[in-house]
Subunit: 152 residues, 2 copies
């Protein structure tokens, strides 16, 4: 399996071109932002450990690390909603990766059955901060798809 | 200042509409994904503590928490690149927020002077995983803008 080199302490090296040296946090994770290659919609945010990141680069299929299950998570293994990675980017200090993906299956990234996990807007109404569901429909019924198999 | 209620342990409540109850992590932070309202480009990923999130909701100007400086960070205070928040969203389990912003100043979110922090693609070339700068130009010279004032 691919392993990654230690990040440089030299900021100019970290911010330049050359080897990809992801900066895993104290839990061994980087943040992964996932958008749809079709229209740029933000689908989900997840985490990757070194194994998940290496598998993603090597196979072109998104792999994450599930913090709740403390296990490698091949997204879509239960639901069929696999993500093919068309482009992978990293940010200036290399602790976040950005995946531009296309989705198979139900065209839904969220375990609630919706296309995107970001189906709610935040609004201040008088003294309350409220969430409002934006009308996103469920592309699948989580009860049917995950019965007995917790994906998230 | 606005304070947020404790997140519900009931998943259906956490995933529904009603009060926004952000799930701050062990360090008291949520992840903030920032895209440009104009074209959806991913500009940066940062973190917010409760104060930064409350100030963002109340003022409509993006505030973050700088982990490196361990301090509230009003983005653009040094550089002039303030971010006006046009829409705020959260994800299914409320530990990530998504800001759609417009930028003032140099139209650059990255401390390197570029519009986006994600100016490099990741590519596998033989056995190496390499970063390639995508041609993004610097909208400002960090030396000029941050001399003596570390924004990031």
């Amino acid at each position: 399996m691919t392993t990654f080199s230690e990040p440089s302490k030299d900021k100019a090296v970290l911010e330049g071109d050359g080897d990809f040296t992801p900066r895993f946090d104290a839990n061994g994770l980087v943040t992964a932002v996932v958008t749809d290659i079709r229209d740029g919609e933000l689908l989900m945010v997840a985490h990757m450990n070194e194994e998940a990141l290496a598998l993603t680069v090597e196979t072109g299929i998104a792999h994450y690390y599930s913090r709740s299950r403390a296990a490698l998570w091949k997204k879509g293994e239960s639901s069929g909603n696999l993500q093919t990675v068309h482009e992978l980017r990293t940010d200036c200090d290399q602790d976040v990766v950005w995946l531009k993906v296309s989705m198979a299956g139900h065209d839904a990234a969220c375990h609630t059955g919706r296309r995107s996990c970001f189906y709610r807007t935040v609004r201040k109404v008088d003294d309350r901060i409220l969430l409002e569901i934006d009308g996103s429909t469920r592309h699948f019924d989580p009860e049917d798809v995950y019965s007995g198999k917790a994906e998230k």
